[in-house]
Amino acid sequence: MSGRNERGTPYASHTDAETEAMLSAVGVEGVDDLFDIPASVAFDGEFGIESRSEREAERHVRGLLARNDDLTEFLGRGHYEHYVPSLVDHISQRSEFLTSYTQYQPEVTQGFLQALFEYQSMLVELTGLEIVNASMYDHATALAEAALLAARVRSTDGDRVLVPDYLLESRRDVLESYTDGAGLSVETFDTDDGNVDVDALADAIDSDAVMVYAENPTALGTVEERLDAVGDLAADHDAMFCLGSDPVALSVLEEPASVGADVVVGDAAALGLPTAYGMGLGLFACREEFVRQVPGRLVGASEDESGRRSYTLTLQTREQHIRRERATSNICTNQAWVALRTAIHAASLGPGGLVDLANDCVRLAADLAGRLDEVEGVRAPVHDRHHFREFVARTDRPAAAVADDLEAEGFGVHAVDDHRVQVCITDANEHAADRLVAAFEEVA
């Protein structure tokens, strides 16, 4: 029975003799004497949760997870998988990184600070914006924080946040949760064949708009073609232009700063994490003029007593632990370790590898759409645009039935409405593209 927990937590280091010595040093008979809890609210400790050895616990969790079906996923819509180099796992698991916390003592945490500084710098290059924070939770919460930033910095009292109708419902829900308290109203403008309809936006925008949002690539996988016009419209109305993207796409797509983006948000964990049920890394980049209004942590360079360049968290007066109810955000714990992984992944690919990967995302989507278009009962892509990683296809049969049947064949795709499915292809699943096409031929 060794390894079970009759002696309590396996992750404490006390021998019985030590425990006794400590109790007597404190001057109490037993541990119970140290708890100042009124009897009326005391609990008997019986949660009814079984204690297990490590082997049993490992087997138990492994057994639970094994009940997930073994699907080949052609799924995206905001959560993407690329092959993660082995180096990322091995380095990020080094416990000096993994088991540290926020760098409140920078002299002893230079390593993590430098890695985060390098993360910030690589995203500065990719976005063309001067400021990148050391992380938000995910794309949706970063978008929400961008809207709150817009409301703080904009000169007039407008309250409208304009979003395209391709915005994922889940992201819109988060945006609304976060902006309700600030009295903002989220309003949708029409799109045209998977791109912002510039005329519709021009009709919708007025001086009450604090922010205009667009994505590139969009949640539908389309590449935006008139972002400069979106940027101009936003600038003309003194609204902030927020663009959603990710570091892989940013490696080839137009630099956001060059089309007038004031803020870039997105899920940077497209690099660094495998699919993880939607767990992500909120990318947040913005123009320098907003630096004192940025949410989240910032790592800056400085110098130490010995005159060497060093790194430290800076502008902490923006944060909740100092400014409390007037902080720029309530965020404390963030996604720093994921940012470390993203940085290692990006560095592993290098600029050439990133461009190649991004180009693959364009080619693979176009190829697969073309092949599916030849399947009877399927029209792909629905949008006459360039695509990145994913595209929407029309199915003659109900999309839900097609998706169900594909799942029975071992493939996951999105059913997005009555007769539309969405398919995502990257370096991680392209090896199964032939089999997917064959399965579509069976079920479509």
Binding site: I49, A66, S100, V362
Partner: protein, 484 residues
């Protein structure tokens, strides 16, 4: 014990005018590539310049950076309020299983492993907190607070009191996130001064609570480590005023198996799983901040939640569902899944005996350490953490000097109710020997003069870093350094 942290140094050279520790990736090698893409030129960037290094070069770069970083596995890390416990390695292994690498948008039927684990974790957390329903969606403690506040808001709105109840009461000693989360949700914050004993002043609470009170947010034990013995009266005062009571779970590690927020009268709580349930802090995150509520509030929780499908029999099947009056979403998907897997694994390993013992030893360790140090600890009886006063010394300098003794210092200068505060939480993991070392470090520093403290640290990678320069001359990227 003698400590010297690794220190790789590079003098100014052709790549940089600065003397540095490990050079930046960009100072090692970068490459500018022309972007040649299947997309039309007007939709693409022209070029991309980023570091270009081989895998062995990167392995060495990051290994050196890791050597210049201090974690729980390096040594004691008694950072008050952060519960820096050991992170069991096997939890990393289960989170890395291929079966955990799933997309969110699959059918429920194909995700029975994930949904089963989530249902199991909801159940574990409900039992531990004495709550009826749990949402796993909030990705951090502060996000949990925000979620809980939105739940309270929805509850009051349903009762027709949404507009009227526009205040949230927060003790002056509370975590900064409480204030910020309340403000984010659009509430006015009413700050409640602590009583002389460091606890909630019932009279002040009576005076503050009323028709406008939506919520009272409280940590118990509080940030001084003191149990709010009047918790039942506190709950009555808040409930009689028509408000709800919120439990900030940051200090739950003091209470496992001894008391449950639900039994104390709390209506809503969040769990900091990276504190209480030993998931790694990862240099700042990710964590997770699940929210537990009473039955009455379950219908407002974020969507989706997970439940066992009705009449599923021996072979339980699970499904996602939308609570009837859900507040919506606080994360684009369902939070930090991999962290939740580690949480589940930790609780499944410890079980009743392990959890109860974790709190017992956490409280024993705090009390033993406090008994061994020279600094005064003004407020007692504390539980899993204590707040010592550095007296005439500057607590921030004390912290810097402690680094030279090979230990991570406590949280400093907070809570402000103790002057020059050293908020210390050793957690259950430390042995008597390590606590004695820690006490030696405290006492050695207590006996040193200001000059020595101000010159510290000496044995860490970097010497004292100029915070003022960092803030006055912002350099937030290597591009900014280059522009200088």
């Amino acid at each position: 014990m003698r400590y010297d942290q690794a220190r790789w140094t590079h003098d100014a050279d052709a790549e940089s005018d600065d003397d540095r520790y490990e050079p930046l990736l960009a100072e090692k090698n970068t490459e500018e590539v022309a972007v040649d893409s299947p997309l039309p030129d007007d939709l693409t960037r022209e070029d991309l310049e980023l570091p270009a290094l081989s895998e062995p070069q990167l392995a060495r770069h990051y290994t050196r950076l890791s050597q210049m970083n201090y974690g729980v596995d390096s040594g004691p890390y008694p950072l008050g309020s952060c519960t820096m416990k050991y992170n069991p390695k096997f939890t990393e292994d289960v989170a890395a299983l291929g079966d955990a690498a799933v997309h969110h948008d699959r059918s429920d039927e194909s995700l029975q492993g994930t949904l089963g684990l989530m249902a199991g974790l909801q159940d574990y957390l409900a039992r531990i907190g004495g709550m009826d329903a749990v949402s796993l969606q909030p990705p951090a403690g502060a996000a949990g607070e925000f979620t809980g506040i939105l739940v309270a808001k929805a509850f009051h709105e349903q009762n027709g009191e949404g507009e009227q109840r526009d205040e949230i009461i927060v003790p002056d000693s509370a975590h900064g996130t409480n204030f910020a989360s309340a403000a984010l949700a659009g509430y006015d914050v009413v700050e409640l001064p602590s009583g002389e004993d460091g606890r909630v002043d019932l009279e002040a609470l009576e005076a503050a609570a009323g028709d406008r009170t939506a919520l009272f947010m409280l940590t118990n034990p509080n940030t001084l480590g003191l149990f709010e013995r009047d918790i039942e009266e506190i709950a009555d005062i808040v409930h009689d005023a028509g408000g709800l009571l919120y439990y900030d779970g940051a200090n739950l590690n003091a209470l496992l198996g001894r008391a449950r927020p639900g039994d104390m009268g709390f209506d809503i709580m969040h769990y900091n799983v990276h504190k209480t349930f030993a998931t790694p802090h990862g240099g700042g995150g990710p964590g997770a901040g699940p929210v537990g509520v009473t039955d009455e509030l379950a219908e407002f929780l974020p969507a989706p939640r997970v439940r066992e499908r009705e009449a599923s029999g021996d072979d339980a099947r699970y499904e996602r569902f939308e609570p009837e009056h859900t507040i919506g979403k606080v994360h684009g998907f369902e939070g930090n899944w991999l962290v939740l897997v580690k949480t589940y694994a930790y609780i499944a390993r410890l079980g009743d005996e392990g959890l109860d013992d974790a709190s017992a030893k956490a409280v024993l360790n705090a009390n033993y350490l406090a008994s061994q140090i020279d600094y005064d600890v003004p407020f007692e009886p504390f539980h899993h953490e204590f707040v010592a006063s550095a007296g005439d010394q500057d607590a921030a300098d004390v912290a810097k000097r402690m680094l030279d003794y090979g230990v991570h210092p406590p949280t400093t200068k907070w809570p402000e109710i103790v002057s020059e505060a050293l908020m210390t939480e050793p957690t259950e993991i430390e042995s008597k020997e390590t606590l004695d070392q820690l006490a030696d470090a405290f006492d050695a520093v207590a006996g040193e003069d200001d000059e020595t403290l101000e010159a510290a640290p000496e044995r860490t990678t970097a010497r004292r870093i100029d915070q003022t320069d960092a803030a006055r001359n912002l350099r937030l990227s290597w591009q900014a350094i280059d522009e200088e």
